[in-house]
């Protein structure tokens, strides 16, 4: 949808001399030459094509974002606009000093990101390198590893619940930890539950990373491998010094995707234990405060603003770096 309107203006106004086929077609259809390239109808079409997405974008992204920032400085129960009360920084003060779940949530979001970068990402790269070697049944393995990414996170949460359930779950049944006195509470114990969920999240993330790296590896020029083989480099040296450096664009994508995954982590945890102690996340705090009957819309918006600020802190340096590179190019 979004590519359609941005690309069509170029399509509609071909530069003069853009190929003989285009020229003859234009000559046949528009006899007045290039005095009026666009009919009124075309302009209307273009206006709509550029206008509609702009309106949608402004309404759905900017207006809502600014409304949410404004609401963060108010208290509102969601009933009638006249019940919105301006409270300044009270929501943030309350959040930073009184909310016992807030700092753990920030911490868990960070742990989430670090864990995703440290475990499933290298694992995904490893799998991709193995699958890139044209081994037999490569397609089968690819499908198997990628399947968790295709499944809905809610389903994944449900499946892992069956594994972690303290009474009837797979793990506790296998190791006999479902008897009184031996309980291992994977879901409720705050020392364990975050890691239990992270295993589930990593399991999914590794497949995602594998596909990204596999695509990157397919783009590596085979002559590079040949050259390094001729120079006598072994497999590890080839990978470290030749292949991995050429994967730089893929690494950037992987980094951004992982940051996004860490910040928007929600569904898996919500299905798993609704963000009980040990697994609090900012996204879940926002939901708990805004959605549902609680309707602390001002307070929830304040948490959302914190999440927004964290996202900006991460994304802005990346954007600056990207634009600088483009300008240099």
């Amino acid at each position: 949808m979004t590519t359609t309107p941005t690309e069509s203006p170029e399509a509609a106004t071909p530069p003069p001399g853009s190929g003989p086929a285009a020229k003859t077609a234009k000559a046949a259809k528009v006899p007045r030459g290039h005095r009026r390239l666009l009919t009124r109808r075309d302009r209307l079409t273009l206006g709509l094509m550029a206008g509609l997405p702009t309106i949608l974008h402004v309404a759905l992204v900017w207006v809502t974002a600014f409304a949410s920032i404004a609401l963060a400085f108010t208290t509102w129960d969601g009933i009638g606009f006249d019940s919105i009360k301006w409270v300044g920084f009270d929501n943030f003060k309350e959040l930073f000093t009184n909310n016992p779940q807030f700092w753990p949530a920030v911490e868990h979001n960070i742990i989430w990101f670090v864990a995703l970068i440290l475990i499933p990402t290298p694992l995904g790269l490893f799998l991709a390198v193995q699958l890139d070697k044209q081994i037999r049944f490569s397609r089968v393995y690819q499908t198997a590893f990628f399947l968790p990414v295709v499944m809905s996170l809610a389903v994944i949460g449900f499946v892992w619940q069956l594994i972690y359930n303290p009474d009837t779950g797979l793990i506790n049944s296998l190791i006999g930890a479902n008897e009184p006195g031996h309980y291992i509470d994977w879901i409720g114990d705050p020392d364990l539950n975050l890691w239990a969920i992270l295993i589930a999240a990593s399991w999914r993330h590794a497949g995602y990373m594998m596909i990204l790296y596999l695509a990157g590896l397919k783009g590596v020029d085979p002559s590079l491998r040949e050259a390094s083989a001729l120079d006598g480099a072994n497999e590890w040296q080839t990978f470290k010094n030749v292949i991995f450096p050429t994967l730089r664009p893929t690494n950037t994508v992987v980094l951004v995707v992982t940051i996004i995954e860490a910040l928007r982590a929600f569904d898996l945890v919500f299905v798993f234990n609704k963000g009980a102690e040990g697994t609090e996340l900012l996204s879940i705090l926002v939901t708990n405060n805004i959605i549902g009957e609680s309707s602390r819309i001002g307070y929830g918006s304040a948490i959302a603003v914190v999440l927004l600020v964290i996202s900006l802190v991460v994304i802005i340096p990346y954007l600056i770096a990207t634009f600088r590179k483009e300008r240099r190019a």
Partner: protein, 436 residues
Amino acid sequence: MHLTPSGLAVPGPSRRTLLRGVGGAAALGAGVPLLSACGGSGSSAGDSKTVTLGSNASDAVPKKAFAEIYAAFKKQSGITVDVNTKDHNTFQEQINTYLQGTPDDVFHWFAGYRMQFFAEKGLANPIDDVWDKIGGNFPEAMKKLSQGADGKFYFVPLYTYPWALFYRKSVFAEKGYEVPTTWDQLIALCKQMEKDKLVPIAFGDKDAWPAMGTFDQLNFRTNGYDFHVELMAGKASWTDAKVRKVFDLWAELLPYHQEGAVGRTWQDAAQTLASKKAGMYLLGTFVGQQFTNKDDLDDLDFFAFPEIDPAYGQDTVEAPTDGFMMSKSPKNKAGAVKLMEFLGTPEAEQIYLKADPNVVAASTKADISSYTPMQKKAYEMISGAKTLTQFMDRDSRPDFTSTVMQPALQKFIRDPKGIDSLLSSIERQKKTIFAS
């Protein structure tokens, strides 16, 4: 994408048809919220022969039971009830927006504070005229539950169910246990059960609300109904020594609860009672839903939470009550009043109870001859109660209970030692929430 120069006719979708598609999709996108806002009520606006009703009864059994009530109402009055059913949890979560939009004439809701909140916000219609007719059908406690803070009636109760300690008669008979009536007896029984290799009290708090039920019982047994209401309304302090005492008692009882409660659903906990691995379970009568075997269900029994302070005895019963309210500006008010009057009759309640044997009628006039022994007991317990509470999340502000109390109680269950800092944290958060 068809990258063709302007005006060139190409087979397949052209830019313009594509645009038309985009426009159509946008129009559709704009139309969807409108459509859903009208949902169920738009078709019958102003029709005096139809009353619209917003229902949260999305489960098959209650849905069918309600449909039978409305069929009976149609037979009696000739008015059709146009039901707009939503998923139970979704209904609850969207209630704010639902009531501010174009709500149905009559809607399902809960008694107590949660009803009073919407009454106070002007989102519900007072129905004193309905109560003039149906008042005689209900006991005093139910009348109190149906009134807003302004003393007007806003609610028609349909059914109710008690919270109590459930046990299996066969287990108690086999081991020679007696039903405890005091705190000391309860502790002694727990100790005995532990010796007999039973989990004394089954417990699952993964959903975060069951622990609130335990707190309610301990609090009104220890400090009485009046203090409980004050505490729930945000007036009494959570750092009060009285509250501290409740948590001390709870900490004494907690070691006899099933381990790993925060990771267990109430359904799994109920299974431990059903499989005779646990001795008791504190829950509402809906625990019976988990007893799918008829013999097991017949073996299930319950008793009121034991007395803690003799001054309050066992005179308070936690009995969440479900029923109906009228929205602020019903399209067919006369019809809605008639429907509410019908819903307040024993007939309507009996139709419902036939389908759901885990609850009892809110009216004292309902015929109890067809009740199961458990329903009879529940009925006696509720009608004999001096005061009725609803449940923590129905008696207090839902934002306070869901964002503060649920995580706090889960924390306490896991680590009962940090109670003082937990209580002062609750009190601080309570002040901000109740001040807004």
